[in-house]
Symmetry: C5
Subunit: 354 residues, 5 copies
Amino acid sequence: MARLFRRTSEKAGLAPGSLIHVGEKRVEKTKITIIDYDQAAFGEKEVATVAECFPFKETSTVTWINIDGLHEVDVIEKIGKHFNIHPLILEDILHTGQRPKMEDFEEYIFIITKMFAYESETDTVRTEQFSVILGSNFVISFQEVSGDVFNALRDRIRNGKGRVRRMGADYLAYALIDSIVDHYFILLEKCSDRIEQLEEELAGDPQSETLQDIHNLKQEIVHLRKSVWPLREVISGLERVESPLITENLSMYLRDVYDHTIQVIDSVETYQDLLSGMIDLYLSGVSNKMNEVMKVLTIFASIFIPLTFLAGIYGMNFEFMPELKIRWAYPALWVVMLSVAGVLIVFFKRKRWL
Amino acid sequence: MARLFRRTSEKAGLAPGSLIHVGEKRVEKTKITIIDYDQAAFGEKEVATVAECFPFKETSTVTWINIDGLHEVDVIEKIGKHFNIHPLILEDILHTGQRPKMEDFEEYIFIITKMFAYESETDTVRTEQFSVILGSNFVISFQEVSGDVFNALRDRIRNGKGRVRRMGADYLAYALIDSIVDHYFILLEKCSDRIEQLEEELAGDPQSETLQDIHNLKQEIVHLRKSVWPLREVISGLERVESPLITENLSMYLRDVYDHTIQVIDSVETYQDLLSGMIDLYLSGVSNKMNEVMKVLTIFASIFIPLTFLAGIYGMNFEFMPELKIRWAYPALWVVMLSVAGVLIVFFKRKRWL
Amino acid sequence: MARLFRRTSEKAGLAPGSLIHVGEKRVEKTKITIIDYDQAAFGEKEVATVAECFPFKETSTVTWINIDGLHEVDVIEKIGKHFNIHPLILEDILHTGQRPKMEDFEEYIFIITKMFAYESETDTVRTEQFSVILGSNFVISFQEVSGDVFNALRDRIRNGKGRVRRMGADYLAYALIDSIVDHYFILLEKCSDRIEQLEEELAGDPQSETLQDIHNLKQEIVHLRKSVWPLREVISGLERVESPLITENLSMYLRDVYDHTIQVIDSVETYQDLLSGMIDLYLSGVSNKMNEVMKVLTIFASIFIPLTFLAGIYGMNFEFMPELKIRWAYPALWVVMLSVAGVLIVFFKRKRWL
Amino acid sequence: MARLFRRTSEKAGLAPGSLIHVGEKRVEKTKITIIDYDQAAFGEKEVATVAECFPFKETSTVTWINIDGLHEVDVIEKIGKHFNIHPLILEDILHTGQRPKMEDFEEYIFIITKMFAYESETDTVRTEQFSVILGSNFVISFQEVSGDVFNALRDRIRNGKGRVRRMGADYLAYALIDSIVDHYFILLEKCSDRIEQLEEELAGDPQSETLQDIHNLKQEIVHLRKSVWPLREVISGLERVESPLITENLSMYLRDVYDHTIQVIDSVETYQDLLSGMIDLYLSGVSNKMNEVMKVLTIFASIFIPLTFLAGIYGMNFEFMPELKIRWAYPALWVVMLSVAGVLIVFFKRKRWL
Amino acid sequence: MARLFRRTSEKAGLAPGSLIHVGEKRVEKTKITIIDYDQAAFGEKEVATVAECFPFKETSTVTWINIDGLHEVDVIEKIGKHFNIHPLILEDILHTGQRPKMEDFEEYIFIITKMFAYESETDTVRTEQFSVILGSNFVISFQEVSGDVFNALRDRIRNGKGRVRRMGADYLAYALIDSIVDHYFILLEKCSDRIEQLEEELAGDPQSETLQDIHNLKQEIVHLRKSVWPLREVISGLERVESPLITENLSMYLRDVYDHTIQVIDSVETYQDLLSGMIDLYLSGVSNKMNEVMKVLTIFASIFIPLTFLAGIYGMNFEFMPELKIRWAYPALWVVMLSVAGVLIVFFKRKRWL
């Protein structure tokens, strides 16, 4: 079952803003990596303690602090304290299963999304919650596990390719979201492949598992849709927000990623329509098969039951049955029987059951 | 049947604002408890008469007056008179079966919601109407029965944990709603467990009761949805209301509980989709089974009916049937019969009915 | 059929504003009753001619003129002329089958609704169009037949119970609408009872009439919904209208009756969902029954058709059939037959058809 | 098929504003009639050439120029040139198959609607496009064929009945639309009659044609709905338009015709619901019939197949079958057979198949 | 499968604004044609290098630069650089599979649409992305392949027919969109023809392929709808945009093409309804056929199975069966048998199965 909401009852009764990690522990140790750059310089390191991130708050360079793993609550808490993040936001970050949303505080903007990473080795999709805090010259991102969809972006930063090194922290935050949305298209493709495969199965010899598969794919697409739909509002929220943190020349890029989310939603809806149509086809296929089975039964039964009756008549042991003595009675009966069968066959042909 | 509206016809014809309790009498005696606190002090007592609540209206501390049981109309009436509550509001409190709503009077804000308390011993869900009146430094809450979802909140007040002791009456009202919404998640979990269980039944050997169960769960979820949907408007109403009763730093918390209601609604809709999909699967399973039954019948009938006919032929008593005299006729007929059966079996194999 | 629109073609081609009664003549003679009151005094009489109403237009007391029966067009016309009502409004009053609506003229406010009066003796619901004209100190109401849902209100006016005697004509108009909405709840209850009864039928032994009954109830609920939905707009229109005819302290009451209409709509929608679910259950019940019928047929046929074939074999009259001479052949055949039957029974048990 | 859009591809590639008649040629010769009136005078004539209309543009009386037949493009073109109509508007007039719409030019207002004229002799409905140009003191109307729904209106103008002679060109335009909407009610009635008739067929002995008929009626209602829905916007557009061409005291009348269109839409939606419900009833009726057929088959086969088997047993020719020699064996077998049949009949009665 | 989105994963990971052609390479070589005109002059040529287009940017005449083929990225890039087009726009042009949209930059307006070109020789529809850049006195259009729907427009420009030579670049851009929308009507007609053909198949002897065909057509119509729906917003965006690039007298034309898109959407929705209704008819046809098959089987089996039983009785070999000795027993049995058959036939006639 597509379980959208984890066991959140663990939290019921706690004070709002209580920091407790809700979700599976999916990584051994929290990993913190720092990428620090401006147009000229670039630095990248993995740090051991949270405190090592703090100096970067003040520098004029753009700093991307990435945290993999959410179960070490005190790490998140320290970052929250130093960067002055509201406890309810920290709670949202820790409490996986949030709906994508965007909130504007004066000092920072908070964005929460779902990241879908397709892993080609295992042919599975890893879903995780991805939270971003965009400050004046830093971006802090929180992931549930290490391994993400940002390797290409990291390469662009390292090599100074594209615009990212020339632009500010807001562009970095945009680039993160853009990478996530780009990976939605990979998912769509997998869905599309699966749909084609199911269509072939349907056209060939559908099994009852086929319907179950269509049904499951439909559920997964509903799941995807639930993640993308609010993302649309998040991005249009970013476009409209009046904050010094988002510079004017970002709006063009936001509009672009907005268009992409609309495209994803469009595809998802098309896929849903396709799958609904396929369910209808499957069900009518079942009915058609039943019809065929019934026709075969009816033809056999309707032809042979009357003939068996006739044979039964002359199998009776009455002493006075004049037909039994007649020499040509037996072949005559065969003629009668074949005529009956012939008439019935013509009748069924007319009805196009044969 | 999920009966959303109690026998309200008892009331038809009465003047608007007439105080009469509509609903079952669910508790023996009305119980009034008072919790009074500020950051420094804390007091808690159960009072015998309504009048004992009145002094707390004037104190500067935050007072939470909780009333369990609505059938003693005069208690409600006295409170209404002393705290200056409009008769129509009192009518709403007494008349269980209201839709969640929020109304802003200048002196107080009135909120009505549905509380779902899961009782693990009996594995049932108790629904009751929960009304809150938020005044300048007091909160009056009305419940149908004693026993609620606020024990954890009471502990936080008693022990001074969390923010609640440091903040005003508006935070207390928020905390009450937050507790209610948190308990919706427990319900969602129960639904999710039930859905999983039903899915297993479906995948195994579904009975006709399974469909009835899916149907019932769907009705209950509709019921839940009807309670949560208007709650969304209530909370967004609280966010927007311009009242001195709601301080500015509450908005962050209201937005948080608003997000939670959206999550509940999202889950509820996902569950509805899931259950609809399960009904489709059930029905197609019924069709598939019918198909299988028909195939078995058709195979048996189509093979043996022609053979029985052949046997019937040579059971006839005609005097002149040359085949009967032939020595190898009997084994020859067996050969013919087995060939016919063989051809039919091949035919059915080709059709993949075997 | 739930006929929402009467034979309005009688009117096609007439000039707009032509006064002609469209609808059945449902009462013998138009009856005019006048209730006149203020906080101190109260008078009530039935008048013979329209002219007797006219003096009340000028008095400072609140006057309620109620007209039962719409077919005496000249009565309506005279009232219209004296009270200065627009001809199109008079047309709407006479032309039953209107959609509930509210219109604000400066001198008066015009409201049209549907009144559902449940008559317990005959267990039927009488629907009629109810129009109200609210002037500065008078209310004129138009009903199709005598007999309405206002007796309790009349008693309250006579006895000075409730607020009605202390308040103005606007409160009277409100009280009329409130009475109508209160009676919708009685209807909802009847629906709810009927649904429960149908659910029991469904759980027991549903007939094909059951489906027809569900279907009919669904149509009636659609009919109810069509009447209540626009009423919602009517009342919210009254809340928003800026007219001296509606005093400020009425808004509280309007909001209350607005909440009630929302509740009615909520119930109606819940009932529609319930009935749709019941139709699905009914249909799947039909499929399940068919399955059971088919299983019985298949079991009988599949067991006995092969056995009959075997019996047919040894009923043949070939001269050379060695088995017929063997002493233990007959009991041996019985053993074979019972084994075949046993194997098939095990097979059907495995398939859980037995 | 309800073809909403005529072969418009004839036009693809032409310059916008090219005047070409798209639609069937439905009348032999274009007919132009002029009705000219004020409160005092009245004149009516049929003119041979377009030019005869031109003088009426300047008179102070209200002039209604009606054109029947759209295929003589030059007639339309000349009118367009003289009355200063935009070529795109002329294109819309000629190009039948437009969606109802309203456009405000400063000099004139352009309205396009669908007219449904029921012809009782042939029991068919004639659909045509009806365009109106409302100028300062003239109305030009364009119809596809002669014969329309305005005869009653013409009589009112001729005889000076109603308000029409006392009011301006705007009232005339309103009166035309009002006549069209009034005739929608006649159509609704025909639909309602047809639905009742189909309901009776359903309750009696539905044929497979019944479903086809329901389906066709549903399509026609969709067609009607497509025409009425935009008309609603047209009229509310006229209400809101700020043009000297529409005087203030018309708004009351526009609101009235607006209410009528809402009523039409309401009915149409009710009819759609009814027809959908009827399709469900039909389909479940098919299932119920199948069930009944299957029950009859199952009862016959299940009772007689075992009995035939028993008869087959004692029809075998084994030499050593002790039962055959027993005197009372034959009647005993009858007893056994009747018992078996009795048990099965009881079994089927219990299952309520009998 | 209607694949709305091409393999866009090729792009995932690239910097936003990276120019890479996403889509099939559908033409051998990029072709650039220039049409340059004002009211007096006209020139048309195919150029070999991009640079030849650049001088036209400055001329006062209207210039239409059309590019067929998108895979030569450097051509697009050079144009972008010279005409100062934003890289993200260039990316959209190259990345086929965009949703129709309109964006207003100060220097130019960017429009993206889907072009459907029906090719009568092959009876197929070619879909391609069509992008337009509208500058102050030039229009640049980008197509995936050569061959388009603008030949009639080109002729009008060449011959100076219609308004196009007298008006500016904005009119040219409008005329391009208008041509595209005009061709949607051709598609609609093809759909309509196909629907009629499928309706005939349905009324005649539907095969299981018929359902597949209906299903496929429905998918194609969904595809069309997805392209037209956003086009509506594009055009209403153009109407509302406040840009010096769009002159005031264009608004009339934009409103006209807007009406056409609404008509297309209306048709598309009607077709969807029609096809859904046809699927229902098909499925109920399958059920009706099954019913007929079952009736035939039931009639044959129910009549002959009891008769065969009777024949079986008198085929038994009991020594003491008094009936066998009776002279008239055999004809008497025939009478009994015919009576049984007669009774059953009457029974089936009553049930209207015969």
